[in-house]
């Protein structure tokens, strides 16, 4: 399995800790399923902790974008936490750095939902 996803609940906020690769096929599908699962349960305040992500191909970036817009469509928010240098580079290249709300501190990310 190339992507491992652990779920944590802090009040109304859900943090998904992602570890591994988000790539075409398995990784992207797992991410989509995990976020959609939360949205179906009405949990639409979501933080993706990318601290453990080593690799995101263009399909993975596309998946981040579409989970972002889908979450927004439900009136919720999907934010990013702990971007490794290479993932930050990828968001810069694709001009998505300013599209996402990005946090470096978990506590601040949680509080930003209040």
């Amino acid at each position: 399995m190339q992507l491992e996803i652990r779920e944590r609940t802090i009040g109304e906020v859900t943090i998904l800790d992602l570890i591994g690769k988000i790539t075409i096929g398995d990784g992207s599908v797992q991410l989509r399923d995990a976020v959609n699962h939360l949205l179906e349960a009405g949990r639409n305040r979501i933080i993706l902790n990318l601290g453990g992500v080593t690799y995101v191909d263009s399909s993975g970036i596309g998946e981040l974008v579409s989970r972002f817009t889908t979450t927004k469509g439900t009136g919720g928010k999907l934010k990013l936490l702990n971007l490794p240098k290479k993932i930050k580079d990828l968001l810069m290249i694709t001009k998505l750095l300013t599209v996402f709300e990005i946090h470096e501190d978990e506590q601040a990310a949680i509080e930003s939902f209040q």
Partner: protein, 160 residues
């Protein structure tokens, strides 16, 4: 088969599961010829994008159609060509993924990745059908003023 002495070729059936085989081979080749970890990482990603496109858009997941990848280890540059057996496409007519209107598109960034990570990316149609993507990456930073071409020389060396 006759082959230049500096060439490695890999052919896979059109299955996403096989893409990791291509990227790991890419890592082994870039490592063997002395790319640093950072460059190797981005070459890996460019190759992944190109092979994924060949499987998805080119061969449309037809498991009977192959993707043919060729690595040419030049003195100055590593060249990678990726060929599929699909209908081909015209890269000049693609939407720009950096256009503000396209930023939230769920797809369309693969070729941008390739062009960003490699020194050059060119597309051509194969005379017998399908596309060929040719990408190259210099093996070492050019010295100032050095103007020689970055292509493959007559006597290529695996190690430089």
């Amino acid at each position: 088969m006759m082959l230049a002495e500096n060439v490695v070729e890999l052919t896979i059936a059109s299955q996403l599961e096989f893409i990791d085989l291509v990227t790991t081979l890419t890592d082994n080749i870039t490592h063997m010829i002395g790319f640093d970890d950072e460059s190797a990482y981005w070459v890996n990603m460019a190759v992944r994008e190109s092979v994924a496109n060949a499987v998805e858009h080119g061969n449309k997941y037809d498991p009977q159609k192959s993707v043919d990848i060729r690595f040419t280890i030049g003195v100055d540059a590593l060249r990678v060509t990726i060929r599929d057996h699909g209908e081909g496409f015209d890269p000049s007519t693609l939407p720009d993924p950096l256009d503000p209107n396209n930023l939230l598109n769920p797809a369309g960034r693969g070729i941008l990745y390739m062009r960003t990570f490699m020194d050059s990316v060119e597309y051509e149609r194969h005379p017998e059908g399908g596309m060929i993507a040719t990408m190259s990456k210099r093996r070492a930073p050019k010295l100032a003023g050095q103007e020689s071409g970055e292509g493959d020389h007559k006597h290529d060396a695996v190690r430089n």
